[in-house]
């Protein structure tokens, strides 16, 4: 489980996060939703330690991650996987080498065992016959899937995804969403996803946290969204006429 207690974050003089507290559960798809610029990515990057927080506590399992030293963090991070918005694959490495890099660094497996694990993960994300291709030679959807394969190669306990559907067509988005959901349930991973994709929220969200202007404005399940009277949440979720109709029908 991941616990975030009263965290605040500012860049120079501009405060971006205000006293956010939340809990993210294992075996569940936890989603952080909100408008662009609301602070979702900053919150996610603060949780994983890529941004230092101004105040508050972050607990990863039973370890206080926010107070961990540089070397302690490196050890904890080996239990985490992060899928970046832009995939962040290493452009100079092939698909296979990208996925194998964490294994090369931290496992004592033989080359054959590592290759087997890489192929298993690539298979798991439905990528075949692309081992020797470079990231520039594959599509955006495939890059995202390779990024997921790389994130799960070390069997992480925690999986973070920053807008995994951004820039993808609706069909590929659904494939990615289902993949994340399956992996989460299959390996009992604590998954935290940043998104503002409504399909994704409705399809795979188990627990949803709505961030508004850097504050934890609302949290609940996807079913509770339909009955919530939170004005900002309703304006965000039911911005389109289609979702307004869906809400009416649901109620």
């Amino acid at each position: 489980m991941i616990r975030v207690l009263n965290i605040s974050k500012s860049f120079q003089k501009q405060q971006v996060l205000f006293n956010i507290s939340a809990e993210f559960y294992p075996g569940k798809v936890n989603q952080i939703i909100g408008k662009s610029g609301s602070g979702k990515t900053v919150l996610l990057k603060s949780i994983v330690g890529l941004h230092d927080i101004l105040e508050g506590e972050i607990w990863i399992g039973d370890k206080e991650y926010s107070k961990a030293s540089f070397s302690e963090r490196r050890v904890i991070r080996q239990e985490m996987g992060l899928v970046f918005q832009g995939s962040a694959l290493f452009t100079s490495l092939t698909v296979e080498d990208n996925v194998m890099l964490p294994l090369n660094m931290f496992s004592k497996m033989s080359r054959a065992e590592k290759l087997e694990r890489v192929n298993f993960c690539l298979n798991r994300v439905n990528i075949d016959n692309a081992n020797k291709l470079f990231p520039a030679e594959i599509s955006g959807g495939m890059q995202k899937r390779v990024a997921i394969a790389r994130a799960i190669v070390l069997n992480p306990k925690y999986l973070f995804c920053d807008e995994p559907n951004s820039g993808l067509d609706p069909q590929t988005s659904i494939v990615i969403d289902n993949l994340i959901k399956e992996i989460t349930y299959e390996y009992n991973i604590t998954t935290v996803i940043n998104t503002h994709d409504m399909n994704s929220i409705m399809e795979i969200g188990d627990q949803i946290i709505f961030i508004f202007e850097g504050k934890n404005w609302w949290q609940g399940s996807k079913n509770e969204i339909f009955t919530s009277d939170n004005q900002e949440l309703n304006e965000f979720v039911f911005a389109s006429k289609l979702y307004q109709k869906i809400k009416t029908v649901s109620i």
């Binding site: 994983v48 890529l50 904890i76 991070r77 694959l89 290493f90 660094m105």
Partner: protein, 246 residues
């Protein structure tokens, strides 16, 4: 105040760079790849510059040593020592700062803005060590060889040009090349080359590593890397010459 901030951040980055690598074998693979990128790929430009510098120096020495009291063999001695003491280390490193330095800064800068560095950190890899240390080691290994190659090619350039133009008789030219050779000059040149290798790789890596977001900023980092490397090379050239030769 800003300069103190940069110096502090530079040394903090270097401290992280020099931490014990997670896996030596992976780093060694990186070093080999960087030797190719930083060293081998620089040989072409260094060879061209060295040959022409040797030839130009021969002409300039010949033009200036017109006094009949000055022996002609001093022309090739001048070419040899000037190449050895200054041109093949300082001037070559100024060129390498442009070629290698901008390459390092833009490579690491691009990795920063495309979140590849964050991805390394998230895997638990010391990104500074993984990206910068192999470049430093590769430069320390290859730059002295480049230096020696440059000296040889510079002298060959001077010799070849003199062979064609006969500014000095060939026996005089060869005698001058051997005359009053001080072996310490080679050591001095190699020491300078190692120091400049560290300056070029670390300063460029520093500017690349702390690139702000945006493609425009990668270009700026690259320019800053070259400018600061050149300034530091010239400064340390002065310092090392004062320490080692006086």
């Amino acid at each position: 105040m800003k300069i103190i901030f940069h110096i502090g951040r530079y040394f903090s980055l270097m401290f992280r760079t020099l931490r014990k690598p997670e896996r030596f074998r992976v780093y060694m693979k990186q070093v080999v790849s960087e030797i190719d990128s930083i060293g081998i790929n620089s040989i072409g430009i260094v060879a061209i510059v060295s040959v022409f510098m040797g030839a130009v120096l021969t002409i300039q020495m010949a033009i200036n040593f017109v006094n009949p009291l000055i022996p002609k063999y001093l022309i090739s001695l001048g070419v040899r020592d000037t190449m050895l003491l200054e041109f093949t280390n300082t001037v070559v490193c100024l060129i390498l700062a442009g070629r290698v330095g901008s390459n390092i800064a833009s490579e690491i800068g691009t990795m920063r803005i495309t979140e590849q560095i964050d991805a390394l950190e998230m895997m638990g890899i010391n990104s500074a060590g993984y990206l910068i240390l192999p470049k430093i080691i590769a430069a320390i290994i290859t730059f002295p060889f480049i230096n020696l190659l440059s000296v040889i090619l510079g002298i060959i350039g001077g010799y070849g040009f003199n062979y064609i133009t006969r500014l000095v008789s060939m026996p005089d030219f060869i005698y001058g090349l051997h005359y009053y050779f001080i072996p310490f000059y080679v050591t001095y040149s190699l020491i300078k080359m190692v120091v400049f290798a560290i300056i070029i790789t670390t300063v460029s890596a520093y500017h690349g590593y702390f690139t702000q977001s945006g493609a425009l900023e990668v270009g700026r980092s690259s320019t800053r890397a070259v400018v600061y490397s050149i300034i530091l090379i010239l400064f340390f050239d002065l310092v090392l010459t004062q320490i080692l030769l006086t």
